[in-house]
Symmetry: C2
């Protein structure tokens, strides 16, 4: 590759990186707002999150096209090639996590139309654990930090444990007081989405590991 071409390539890669980071910060915003909206059953905030989803979808499309263009124009090798193919995967996971913020927001709107019930006891803990995973996975991308990425992968078990606990609690609650079944179903769906968000954060962490080390951990 000539020096000029190499320079333009480095500029393109940096631009790409910045767009992924931008997508990550919009995701962080939506995640934080979703957590607030769920806490207070805030319909206006929920609607805002749903509306923002288009922005993420658009960014995903742009980055996807840019990756394909770079592959075609620059024909990168080794680490650069790994980085670009991994970014193509990472943006899908970011987009899915954002989708799940929007999906949870739909359930917040449903909950707002029902008599208010107590949120499951472990919901706050589950949210905290998931949020940390999402933020840490974006950070580990920005910093190419595989130790942080590895911590994200390990944290997933705790989220799954909270999911099981809350499922059990909601099951007991519904059996004792069938009048709260509709709300409990909403919370069941919410925790399913939270669990999926953590799974996608784990996927991203796996791709970051692949970028840095070349080791493919899929499954």
């Amino acid at each position: 590759m000539g020096i000029k071409m190499r320079q333009s390539f480095i500029a393109q890669l940096e631009e790409l990186n910045n767009k992924v980071i931008k997508m990550g910060s919009i995701l962080e915003l939506s995640t934080n707002e979703m957590i607030d909206a769920l806490d207070t059953i805030d319909v206006e905030k929920a609607k805002k999150i749903i509306a923002r989803d288009d922005e993420i979808d658009l960014l995903e499309q742009q980055i996807e096209r840019e990756c394909i263009n770079i592959l075609a124009q620059q024909q990168p090798l080794a680490t650069d090639l790994r980085k670009i193919t991994s970014i193509m995967k990472i943006i899908t996971d970011i987009e899915r996590i954002a989708d799940q913020c929007a999906d949870i927001s739909e359930y917040i709107i449903k909950l707002s139309n029902m008599p208010k019930t107590k949120a499951p006891a472990d919901l706050g803990n589950m949210i905290e654990a998931m949020k940390k995973m999402v933020i840490d996975t974006i950070d580990s991308f920005v910093e190419a930090d595989i130790e942080k990425a590895s911590a994200v992968m390990e944290a997933d078990d705790a989220v799954d444990k909270y999911f099981d606990n809350i499922c059990k609690e909601l099951s007991d609650v519904m059996q004792k007081d069938p009048s709260v079944v509709p709300q409990s179903i909403c919370y069941l769906m919410v925790i399913k989405y939270l669990e999926r968000m953590a799974d996608h954060a784990t996927n991203i962490a796996e791709w970051i590991t692949f970028i840095v080390t070349g080791d493919l951990i899929l499954g």
Copy 2:
């Protein structure tokens, strides 16, 4: 590209295509077996599906690596490049659908340990609609048939409608007879996975459209 290199490239692409088709047929097998296992709450079959998941994961890793190798060695352009980057996305969706067969199988095992209840009325219809989407999306990849792919995308709404109906039914059932709450929670999770399977089939259909037409429909 020289003739020899072009020939080796065509062979590599064909090999890649065959591996995706192989992954698709294992997925079809798991989908069909999962449907049978759910119908009869067959624990042995459920365990077999869970065990088979490793095979799909391994194939995904192999195909992923092959795609990256082809990108590095052959530096393909235009349609070939689109095809390879799309295959990298498609195999993720195939792997996720297989995951969801395994996830449903876990709930089949849970259901087998509870008193037997009636399955939701629309479950059979939802399963039929989802199954058709999965099979048609694999077919449309094999045949590069964008009309079939487009029919898959349109079919997703019907699956979502069944999801809503069954949710409502399970909500009523639990309110009338709280003793079946645990089984109903299992069925809620099962239909959530079925709905996700249809979503992933839709994703694959979108990628097939992209391979053939170059139009990116993400979101």
